[in-house]
Symmetry: C2
Subunit: 295 residues, 2 copies
């Protein structure tokens, strides 16, 4: 443990510092300089210990991936033998097949890239649909997929006596049920039709009574938020006591949050996997435990 160090970029300083404090490790910063021609210069602290843990969440990922590649190679040039990436949000996990002929299966290419750069990758609730285990995408010695279901369930339990958890689609079934089961929450799943990046239709299950319930919509991520808008509108039409949304990954691109709030929803909450004003659930204890297991 003493022979480990945590490094963060300016945009992941908070996560790096909090993890370092909790694990009693040294913490350093990866400096980024953007040259006028658009190239990046990356600098790590000189003289690193054997094991270096680089923290960076991978929303808006393309530039970040190149910077990570450069940071990792600088870390190895400066003494690191074993490199771990802590990326609470892992990018490109949704493009897990060629939906049309000729499409890149980005989950596999980006996973392979991360596998060549790092010895271990830790993430939280990666969006795995057609594969079961993270190492089928991220091909490194240790590909560790943690889940935020426990901290999310604890957060819900503190706030509601008899919540009704609602997953937006079939893909969320396993995840929603694992939040619900530990605490005995009621839960149900909608069905979803998608007609493009920003156009979805949600069907509530017919046999569920929503009126006067505290409905908590949960999902692994909110991106354009269109799914959540459609779900919130359907739920609100049924006269619930309250409607809240909790996601692990608060991507909220463009006007997503505004559109969700405009439905009249009571709360939007998220973990701190991606920095956002809705962050209320810290993933630091979970990530620290995960890092300890792989040290």
């Amino acid at each position: 443990m003493n022979d480990s160090m945590i490094l963060g970029f300016a945009d992941s300083r908070k996560l790096a510092t909090e993890l370092a404090t909790r694990l009693e490790l040294k913490c350093g910063e990866i400096e980024l300089h953007r040259f006028p021609d658009g190239e990046s210069r990356v600098r790590v602290p000189a003289e690193l210990p054997r094991h270096v843990i680089i923290c960076r969440t991978l929303d808006r990922p393309d530039k970040k991936l190149i910077e990570l590649l450069l940071a990792a190679s600088a870390a190895r040039d400066n003494g690191a033998i074993n490199l771990t990436l802590v990326a609470p949000y892992l990018c490109y996990m949704r493009q897990d097949k060629a939906f049309h002929a000729g499409e890149a299966v980005s989950q596999q290419s980006i996973g392979a890239l991360l596998g060549t750069i790092f010895d271990a990758v830790l993430t939280v609730d990666p969006h795995l649909h057609r594969i079961e285990r993270l190492e089928q995408a991220v091909r490194c010695a240790q590909a560790i997929s943690l889940t935020a279901t426990r901290p999310i369930a604890e957060f819900i339990a503190e706030r509601f006596e008899r919540p009704l958890l609602l997953g937006p689609d079939g893909e969320s079934l396993q995840w929603v049920s694992s939040i619900a089961q530990g605490w005995g929450f009621d839960f149900t799943i909608c069905s979803k039709e998608r007609f493009g990046d920003r156009n979805v239709r949600i069907h509530l299950p017919a046999n569920i009574c929503i009126s006067d319930r505290d409905v908590v919509m949960v999902d692994d991520m909110a991106s354009t938020g269109r799914t959540m808008v459609a779900a919130a509108e359907s739920v609100l039409a049924k006269g619930p006591a309250s409607v809240s949304l909790i996601v692990t990954h608060a991507l909220f691109v463009g006007d997503a949050e505004e559109k969700i709030r405009a439905t009249g929803i009571n709360h939007i909450w998220s973990t701190d996997s991606i920095m956002h004003p809705s962050n209320v659930i810290s993933l630091v204890p979970l990530l620290a435990e995960g890092i300890q297991d792989c040290l």
Copy 2:
């Protein structure tokens, strides 16, 4: 040859089309879609031949590199066995050592990345300073470095009877002399001091007579243009007949071109390695020849 195809992105369609016409090869487009969350979807034509040549110049490179990685993997998934990258401008070649402790040696990391993606890489006038051969950075089966010295020399010979070629610094000596020697042009080299990304001082050689000469400043690239501004000012103070600038790679970031024109320089010319209004010298014949050699 018939079992080859050229692919371009929307931003490299012109190059791809011209190369395909000249080499009598089929040409296809790589489609790019940016998802709202900042991830890229890349799609290549389905059913590709064994040998696929992907064209893309690599100025402003970080996003482009990830898109190339995805395109290459999609190409392999769709039948390509042998992948060639034609990148008239190759990025990250200038960061060839850790100038300060802890810095990433990007030339090596990005070169290694390209080497894992492609079987062959073709480029023009890469900025190699501390290494001699491109394959010391780009580690693939064929790393081919072409030079624009011949088309540049031909262009100069068509316009000036007795030009004086001027290289901005010692690094340019070999390159400037190879443009000059085939045609017997006079040439000389300045010395340069650099004080940051945008601050340089240029010293003209003491023993050279500039008055009434057609001075042609040549360099492999113009980025912030500060070197060229300083050189042009020094030259113009000596009463030349004309001052022109020719570069292979017209990066011209920010107000670079404006600042160079403001010195009172007569012409700014470049090859088409990076699309820019100053492009006058086509690299297509040179690149086509290079591709034929590696087919």
